[in-house]
Assembly symmetry: C2
Homo-oligomer: 185 residues x 2
Amino acid sequence: MKLSKREQLLQSALELFSLFGYSAVGVDAISERAGITKKTLYHHFHSKEELILAVLRYYDERHRNSFMRSVEAKSENPKERMLAIFDITEEWFNSSNFSGCLFVRAMGEYPDEGSSIRRVCQESKILFQRYIQGLAEKAGLKNSSELSKQLMLLIEGAITLAQVKNSPLCAKNAKKAAHVLIQNS
Amino acid sequence: MKLSKREQLLQSALELFSLFGYSAVGVDAISERAGITKKTLYHHFHSKEELILAVLRYYDERHRNSFMRSVEAKSENPKERMLAIFDITEEWFNSSNFSGCLFVRAMGEYPDEGSSIRRVCQESKILFQRYIQGLAEKAGLKNSSELSKQLMLLIEGAITLAQVKNSPLCAKNAKKAAHVLIQNS
DNA sequence: GTTAAAATATACTGAATTGTATATATCGAA
DNA sequence: TTCGATATATACAATTCAGTATATTTTAAC
């Protein structure tokens, strides 16, 4: 099935932003990569910022959903699923297109206090934390809120350090730490 | 004591990069803020990239040193110092000029594989991890290497989430998790 | 098949940005 | 005092980039 022009643009933009950063990539480069005229790009997205936002939303949905599906394919048990999160994280780190968290990178480039980019980024992190908390509740763990926030710390730290040190093994260490935290909760 | 021109430039650049990001800030803005001619700027730094590198090195030394001094002022005991790290981290989050990790943000904007920016960033993280590992060894903990890496995960995660969610309290959660990990090691 | 929307091709505007050029002034040290 | 390095003031060159303009063609629904 063929992608719509809009989706082709989103995908090309996603690839380029991921490779080079947001301000480093011009709209000309995006439209060229997509094989779509700049005029058409501006027909779908009224500004570069709007395009960036759309890319983040597009990526958020797809990535988080596929992530959760992968986790759920690993086990039926909620507690095991909590640990499986770190296995999937490691797979993500090992994928060729891993380049850190696209949301955090966007916020780093556009740190404006009330910016929409910040909101989208916050929203994505909140949704993921809720997912972990849901698993913790199903696992019958009492302080699910605190625990899920702590696991988030490990995951975010692993993302950063995997990017900086170029070492996907961070995920393994995070998993070990998570195991201890879960046992103690 | 008066700062050298070079240092004035570094400081102005640091403030602006921290507020707006790297590519969003032009050399004109930096020289203007420092009250120093652009020609003079280019006398001290041969390119913008060189300036960014110098800013990162300048910041790295000052920030990491002042951080460690603050930690050491909190306690004499190595194990207590390991926990004090998270208190100082929280103070950092609460400071008005906190805007995430400047190294990670730089790497996000200039993700080039072999770039000097990446090297400086890696170096800084490694030095900090060694500091934690040193404390863990002095505290007589056996698996100091693994533990220090796990504490790094918590710290980096806290930095990211404090920035994203605008909530310095992340540090408190990280400290609790750190406490559990230290106890279990 | 007609028609309106969507897409192309291509050129252009205006602003911003990195880095340089030139001519002049300040200032510390030999 | 003089000389060389550092700094200023200001203008300029060369690109790059976001976004627009115009005229033409394709597509898809009615």
